[in-house]
């Protein structure tokens, strides 16, 4: 599917989805309330068949978090980036998608570890790289550490 067809499929699912066509692949910004339903739809829908979660990550824009889910279809070879804006950085929370794509379990643990986003209904939400006793989440823009040096 090309960008236009993807847009039609997505806007057919919900009218609340905003698009950003400047990115390659297409970005679709989804309200948090409709996020999980859309993800289930994209996995099951025969037309789009997004069976492969390439990665998921988070970008800290200082006043909000933007979660990025990079989906791919191994049958049709098309990609899409599904984005969710989380306004409250300190209590950021979203539903896990690890029942849809198994690999999400570990990418979500990484985002929890480095950004502090909580994933509800996650089977094993622990830090993945850092020690359990670590304070703070290093990939946040406001993270400071006494050992950090200016480059």
């Amino acid at each position: 599917m090309n960008k236009e067809e993807l847009k039609n499929v997505l806007s057919g699912y919900s009218s609340n989805i905003q698009f950003d066509e400047t990115t390659e692949p297409l970005s679709a910004i989804v309200p948090a309330a409709e996020f999980f339903g859309l993800m289930q739809f994209l996995r099951k829908d025969a037309q789009s068949n997004f069976d492969f979660l390439n990665f998921m990550t988070c970008v800290d824009w200082k006043d909000h978090f933007m979660l990025v889910y990079f989906l791919h279809s191994t049958t049709y070879r098309h990609d899409v980036m599904i984005k969710v804006k989380l306004e409250n950085r300190d209590e950021a929370e979203i539903e896990t998608v690890c029942n849809i794509w198994r690999t999400a379990e570990f990418h979500e643990r990484e985002v929890f570890d480095l950004f502090g986003v909580k994933f509800t209904h996650h089977p094993d939400l622990r830090r993945i790289f850092l020690d359990d006793a670590w304070e703070g989440h290093p990939l946040r823009k406001d993270y400071t550490d006494e050992n950090m040096i200016e480059l």
């Binding site: 492969f52 990550t57 191994t74 070879r77 690999t103 480095l114 790289f129 850092l130 020690d131 480059l151």
Partner: protein, 373 residues
């Protein structure tokens, strides 16, 4: 997690042991926690972070020229491909075309890296499964490739040869001659590799039917590279999303249907032949011209998001850069192949024996610094 305070015997009578982080067959600091019933594996849980350097955070304060070189330390056996992925992403952001000569040099170096990486893997797989000889055979050929790398790039392992716009320097005058010699040498030895290990009865018994990964699981766990192709998943980025001019060369995507350790082994053995074929097609056809496009001293990417994927020796590496228009990236995310591949290990190892786990680990071909980043 306190390891000492925990009971080593569960209520179900399972025995908990730690494999690694310092274990010869984990090839690096990977820590696996195993739940065992006798010799049968009930559950595997990987623990990471022993070599986490936060390359993504570091990149946020490095320039677009410098951040590329940090990636050589992720999957150090695919250093050239990692650098290439970053260089391609920056070039995409700048919207520049790179000279054809640079593209061909990049493909040649990538395939040499892939060959060297697969040879190291072949040697260590033999070593893990009790055959010491392959290690010496593999290193003999790998050393010749390392020599070519040193001649042209100035370094053996972490070449740092790619820069935005092309490659750092032109190829060495002896590059073509030496590469052709080494290809002849390797071609004559590949059958020897098969005689030594592929058809060996003990080796077959230890890998056939061991650690089966189904096609559905491979896709759901985000597995890529030779590991996924061993389960019949077509995922070679060089084929379906060609970059650097891979669409101009003839090669086959290697697929095996077995999904077991032996299938993954055969994929890599056959891939070596494809890499040699790609190198032979290009080595006499390196176009004349510049090896680098002109770029500004201080590179600033326009505001936006850029993504590029390449096929490393272990699977799909994705580089996702978010730029706010400054001279350093606002956020860099590496979608590293080993991270996703590792987490398929628990389902592959479940129900097998401890000895099988070693065979599975070797044929997954993990490089731990790429997982931790």
């Amino acid at each position: 997690m306190s390891l000492l305070g925990e009971d080593i015997l569960t209520e179900e009578g399972e025995f908990i042991i730690n494999m690694g982080p310092q274990h010869p067959s984990t090839h690096g600091v990977l820590h696996l926690k195993l739940w065992l019933n006798g010799e049968e594996i009930k559950r595997v849980q990987p623990h990471l972070g022993y070599i986490h350097r936060s390359i993504e955070k570091m990149s946020e304060s490095l320039s677009y020229r410098n951040f590329i070189f940090a990636t050589s330390r992720m999957d150090y056996l695919s250093a050239h491909m990692n650098n290439e992925a970053c260089a391609l992403t920056v070039e995409k952001g700048l919207g520049i075309e790179i000279p054809e000569r640079a593209q061909v040099i990049r493909i040649l170096m990538s395939e040499l890296t892939r060959l060297a990486s697969h040879q190291l893997w072949w040697g260590s797989t033999g070593l893990d499964l009790g055959a010491v000889t392959p290690f010496f055979y593999a290193f003999r050929e790998r050393e010749a490739i390392m020599g070519i790398m040193e001649e042209t790039c100035g370094a053996r392992l972490t070449q740092n040869y790619n820069v935005p716009g092309g490659v750092m320097a032109d190829i060495h005058p002896n590059f073509q001659k030496h590469t052709k010699e080494v290809m002849q040498q390797i071609k004559s030895k590949l059958d020897e590799y098969d005689d030594l290990l592929s058809g060996n009865v003990i080796f077959e018994a230890r890998t056939k039917g061991v650690g089966v990964l189904s096609k559905e699981d491979a896709i759901s766990y985000g597995v890529t590279g030779p590991t996924a192709r061993g389960s019949g998943v077509s995922c070679d980025v060089r084929k379906w999303a060609p970059y650097s001019g891979y669409e101009k060369v003839q090669f086959n995507e290697i697929l095996e249907e077995g999904g077991d350790s032996y299938a993954r082994y055969m994929v890599r053995m056959r891939e070596m032949k494809e890499s040699i074929s790609i190198i032979e097609q290009l080595i006499d056809n390196i176009p004349d011209g510049d090896f680098q496009a002109k770029t500004k001293n201080v590179i600033k990417l326009p505001k936006g998001e850029f993504f590029q994927r390449v096929e490393t020796a272990r699977g799909e590496l994705g580089v996702y850069i978010v730029s706010d228009g400054a001279a350093s990236p606002y956020r860099v995310k590496y979608r590293s192949p080993n991270f996703s591949n590792l987490f398929a290990l628990p389902i592959m190892a479940k129900g097998g024996k401890i000895g099988d786990l070693v065979a599975i680990m070797s044929t997954l071909d993990l490089v731990i610094p790429d997982i931790d980043r």
